[in-house]
Amino acid sequence: MSAITYLEAIRLAQQRALKEDHSVFIYGQDIGGFGGAFKATKNLAKEFPGRVLDAPISEDAMVGLAIGAAIEGMRPIVEMQFADFSTCGFNQIVNQAATLHYRTGTPCPIVVRLPSGGTPGSGPFHSQSMEAIYAHYPGLVVMTPATVEDAYTMLLEAIALDDPVIFCEHKFLYYHLKADKLPKFPGEELPFGKARITRPGRDATVVAYAAMVHEALAAAEELTHDGYDIEVVDLRTVRPIDTDTILASVARTGRLLAVGEAWPWGGVAAEVIARVATEGFGLLDAPPQRLNAKETPVPYHPALWGTHRPTAPLIANSLRQLLEL
């Protein structure tokens, strides 16, 4: 079997969901015959006629339509062409989808797929990481898969969940990551909502998610040359956030670096630190640290972009400083 990319895993998860559950349909711009801007729905319109539909450029109405269909028992998947454009559907996501079950008792099982994060040359409006904004709202599940296997199984989990799910799939990982095979069933390795200890270690904990997991792993590898053994925790879902696994890791290492590709202000890394500081202060041997993107819009030029977001060398530097505290 040829290697499966992260992007192909997303396509295969949708194919399987369409096949196994007749209440699933996909709605988004250019996703029909064209197969999507990134080809995440390639051939699906042909294979499932009438269930993979092109939408007008109307993010608000796309999400509104999904909500109305979910009320009637469907399980819609909305593809945003880029995570950045989900701001145009923000009202429907946070005010209608997120509140529906609490207000009325009617569940809202929609999945909004957000092609997220930066790639070289994408600039301010095709690079954003929106997870913290959506995680802020009670009622929304926010997933940030970092591996090919998770992209597949977590998307299937997202479709099966009765809550609205913001599925932050990372564009930088679309083609970079490959796996030989996919798990048969979701939850085989880890249940929904559980973080993964991707790399066990004893000297410091890096909590990361999505593309940052791979930068953190490379930084951990680099620090082996300095004689340090770094633990890397992959959050997998940022809401619910698996505080137990984070605290258990910090209990082992005594040191925490939280890394996010998004901006620091009110972000997921800030939330991780807040939780460890309030619930596990006594476990810490040093002040917890965070590393995020620089606080400007995401720049266009690769030279600027490559420095704007945390990378393995920057994470390694932060870790060295943390280990000296």
Binding site: R51, D60, A61, V63, G64, G68, H101, Y102, T104
Partner: protein
């Protein structure tokens, strides 16, 4: 003192003969419509009294003056249809199947109401029964109704109509535009009724839109446009009935625009002093409930005796229901599960702290 000239309502025109065919109005539907209008009017008077006496918190938003238009939609929908009423649709809601009891429970925050104190006043519904619960963000419900209609299309159900209402102010939102455009692209059986009540809260139409006729939007979207006389029950029933029937025959989205005047403030906190007296005294300001009663009496479809016995019966029901609901339990914060998720149980929340 010079007599003020009644301002010409903006954003509308007189009816023209070439406009779409209206439906027939039956005695039975007109009587049911009038009954719901009466219920809405008397219930809302009670709501206003409860608000003034401090029993209702937040706000009270009344549909006085808009009952004919509102009821004409609600009464012509049926079980299986989708209905997303808006702020001034008490009459339509009651005609669709909402109750005086649940309205009072929602306004008074009873834990036995459909919203269980989690939301209030006009934000109520039973979405799983096709009765959508509006959010405050205008225009948002248009695409939601479209989605429910899409679900029915996926399941192969035919003959279902989805309907929603909005004010002229709501037509300025992006959501309204996106929703109607989407409905037109998908050729959905959607009816959108625009109540052009001349003021969006306090903002007059000349600060709201610049087109000379809101109905001209229908052509722009590629949907059927129809005009109703907003305070004339029989005309509203005929025009909206025609729209609902056309949608049910799968003739695509229908946009109904009606001129009227709200005979109250935006909410009970608002005295509507910005509405000129001359406009209130113009034909637009005539009370649709009185006009409807007269129209039904003139047609021989209702006697004045019946009208007054209905009034007594409704007043009694409203009073009794209100007394009952005032004795009902309010939500207990210590028993509230404080969980916004449908699928995340307490165990996962405790383990993962959300």
């Amino acid at each position: 003192m010079t007599k003020a000239k009644a301002p010409e309502p903006k954003g509308s025109r007189k009816k023209s003969s070439e406009e779409c065919q209206a439906g027939d109005v039956s005695k039975e539907v007109a009587r049911r419509a009038y009954r719901s209008m009466l219920e809405a009017r008397l219930l809302e008077e009670k709501l206003a009294a409860l608000y003034r006496s401090g029993k209702i918190v937040g706000g009270v938003f009344l549909g006085r003056g808009q009952e004919a238009l509102s009821v004409a939609l609600g009464v012509q929908l049926r079980r299986g249809d989708i209905y997303a009423p808006l702020i001034r649709d008490q009459a339509g809601r009651l005609a669709f199947g909402d109750t005086i009891l649940d309205t009072l429970r929602t306004y008074l925050g009873s834990s036995l109401g459909s919203m269980r104190g989690r939301d209030g006043n006009i934000h109520r519904g039973r979405p799983s029964e096709g009765y959508h619960a509006m959010i405050s963000h205008l225009g948002a419900m248009v695409s939601t109704v479209c989605g429910s209609l899409m679900a029915k299309r996926f399941r192969g159900e035919k003959g279902t109509v989805g309907a929603t209402c909005i004010g002229e102010g709501g037509t300025s939102t992006g959501s309204f535009h996106e929703g109607i455009n989407l409905a037109a692209v998908e050729k959905l059986p959607l009816v959108v009724v625009v109540a052009n009540n001349q003021y969006s809260y306090s903002t007059p139409n000349d600060r709201q839109f610049a087109c000379s006729d809101l109905l001209s939007k229908a052509a722009g979207y590629g949907v059927v446009g129809r005009r109703a006389i907003g305070n004339d029950l029989i005309d509203c029933l005929a025009v909206i009935g025609g729209a609902v029937a056309a949608a049910r025959r799968d003739e695509g989205p229908q946009l109904v625009v009606a001129d009227l005047l709200r005979l109250v403030g935006h909410g009970e906190h608002d005295d509507a002093s910005y509405i000129p007296d001359a406009l209130k005294k113009s034909p637009l300001g005539r009370d649709c409930l009185e006009l409807a009663r007269q129209a039904l009496v003139d047609k021989g479809w209702l006697t004045l005796d019946e009208a007054s016995s209905w009034q007594e019966a409704v007043e009694k029901e409203v009073e009794e229901t209100s007394s009952k609901v005032l004795r009902e339990p309010v939500p207990d914060p210590t028993e509230e599960d404080w969980n916004a998720f449908a699928s995340l149980g307490r165990s996962l929340q405790q383990g993962a702290n959300q």
